[in-house]
Symmetry: C2
Subunit: 462 residues, 2 copies
Amino acid sequence: MNKIQELFSQPLRPINLGLETFAASMAAQGMEVATVEWQPPADGYVELDTLQGVDVDAANVEAVQRIMAGRPMLIGMGIAREVIPGFHPRLITHSGPPVTWQRMSGPTRGAVIGALLYEGLAETPEAAAELAASGAIEFAPCHHFNAVGPMAGIISPSMPVFIVRNEATGHLAYATQNEGLGRVLRYGAYGPEVIQRLRWMETVLYPALQRALEQTGPIDLRSMTAQALHMGDECHNRNKAGTSLFIRAIGPALAETSDAATAAAALRFMDGNDHFYLNLSMPAIKAMLLPAEQIPGCTVVTVMARNGTDWGIRVSATGDRWFTAPSPLVEGLWLPGYKPEDANPDIGDSAITETGGIGGFALAGAPAIVQFVGGTPTDAVNTTLAMYEITAGEHSAFSIPPLNFRGTPVGVDVRRVVETGITPRLNTGIAHKEPGVGMVGAGLVAAPMGCFRAAFEALKAL
Amino acid sequence: MNKIQELFSQPLRPINLGLETFAASMAAQGMEVATVEWQPPADGYVELDTLQGVDVDAANVEAVQRIMAGRPMLIGMGIAREVIPGFHPRLITHSGPPVTWQRMSGPTRGAVIGALLYEGLAETPEAAAELAASGAIEFAPCHHFNAVGPMAGIISPSMPVFIVRNEATGHLAYATQNEGLGRVLRYGAYGPEVIQRLRWMETVLYPALQRALEQTGPIDLRSMTAQALHMGDECHNRNKAGTSLFIRAIGPALAETSDAATAAAALRFMDGNDHFYLNLSMPAIKAMLLPAEQIPGCTVVTVMARNGTDWGIRVSATGDRWFTAPSPLVEGLWLPGYKPEDANPDIGDSAITETGGIGGFALAGAPAIVQFVGGTPTDAVNTTLAMYEITAGEHSAFSIPPLNFRGTPVGVDVRRVVETGITPRLNTGIAHKEPGVGMVGAGLVAAPMGCFRAAFEALKAL
């Protein structure tokens, strides 16, 4: 028997060097794997072990622990200008990092036009565009108000918002109600049916939900998200289970606190929109991430957001600074009649879900998502496994059944992104690039490396 | 380079002999596998290619196609004695094959006692047991009335039942409303709280659901089950998604057709019972299986059911005949305070789900189920893969996302069970062996080979 024959005649005990995914794959097949931590020297990579006199690994562990300890509760609703501190009648907030009207993407412009029509600040789309360009309206990122908005992410003064409170720390976060898919404001549409729906959401849906919430008391969104993750959602582009669980939680109180027609209309609207829960999972995760901001020496990403022009991140140790790069196009599936050339670059605050360890990071637990965003169930598993390479922890509250209930990857470490060349993977909706059209598809995208490199340089210079 | 080195220095192209699961496992890892159909000669196995002058494979394909073509719709509700043909005031139906009071398991006896108290036919448990033993009550399997009941499966004359109609064929199937877990009739409990709940379900829940169903019109249970299978349910012991989807479907009409308190109470009851959908998935699958009965030459199993004493099956070509074997114990997880010695052997008509290609057969799509019934997510995948070895088809309506949307294994072929020695795998609740106690756990069980051997002998003798 030669050496090779000898080798293969006995049980194999592989040693895995470096990338954890290989070991996980072998372990999944029942092999006993020894893992050696090893990384190839990255081109241009400089070690960053201490920062601001602090051990970076320890600071990052602290960030992840603060995130995981969050208890986001839906405590009520209110009108944006009345409940969001600092909001004012001439303010419109948008997704992503700051952007001027001049640089604004088509869908964001379309949504701003729609919001101005909805607010009664303009009579026609043309007048709205003129007003928006005049400087009389202040534009700012939702994130500057601890709010989050999917796609264009527009919040205007009269819009009702969910109020989510992190009971562990008291942090508050906000998001509007989800309108559904297709021709909707957040995808840049602003036709009469869009404005009419927004008015109904303000005058019928919001009061009904608010009355019901007063009866139910705070609803635990961490628990609901954790359950949804065990029901095939990743709580970014698949929210069918989360929406179902929210309807179950609010349904009895809705029936008791609204007249029959209103309760039925509210239930029917939510039943008709499998994405309703997105606008609850987003502020829940935002509320969990807020306590991780501004930790000295911490290289964990606290915000990832896109305005359709720029892709931006914020990092714990660098506080409020945005690091941006041009927003990439999304690869995906197209609604009938649309094609890749119609697509606006990646847009929306919904990347907050990935920032907090769900969404694309939890894709392995949501194999059916590929019917909406493309790819295969195997790609979905591989996406999650890759994210373990760039994150500082595994979530204690969110887990993935097919990976034997492994915690989701959480806490993107800028150092590991730069070091491995792997950027965060998101799945997302796709808006038409022209104002006024709406949704054209959904797909998968990798964050651009540029913002992580910029953040890394800034961290080194601290 | 020697031969072994040569072999391993080039891409491997494995050839798989026999068991399909090995090939599937390699294919899942992206290998190109050539499959050769081959089976070891089974001890005592006699080929059975034609039966009653018919090609058995063709007859089995016909059975599977009839099953998959079924369109089970929830068309309404009614009181058992009024809507189930042949039901009468002195009849009580139970799960599984026929059994006398003398041979009845503890939980079935307990549930019969509870049903007699609920019907007002006895004042005390002792008087009920005496009446049951007197011969004045007729006992019969639910299946003899195209009904199905989980666990003890008791249907008594006054109980409300769901009515499911297979729109493809007109077949009707029936099941009671699910009571929840713990101390409930179907697990053999008969205390005052059990009877009180049954009365509320008859006088409040049933009329409310019936009114709502009249407004919604028929509800498509095949579509709802297919969706639930993509949301982590296997629709036997995990029905959290199905229950959620049913609440979504019925909620608006409930709010519109009941007073606020009743609508809220009905929604709250269903929200409090993640198993509510089981009593809809069961008659849906029963209605789909009925057209596959009594096909000449067909060796597909049309009923698997247990009464807690015997495990029984019916096969298409042998029509109404039951083939039975002693019911085995279930391996599982135990509710606090209970242990394996407390368990009654396997019981219930809920094995209809596996008979129709879901439940244990769809376990690969429901990894979170292991938190309820034990095992690991890998076991869950392997269970489904093993079931492809004994089934005649892959379901066109029900699919498993993590297996790249492969259809669930459907149509147990008695020949393949006898040939491979693999019997159907179920997951199931566990009842206390004494009457009057209730649920003690949940777990996994393999059907006993005895009934399949008996059926095989009978088929050969046709």
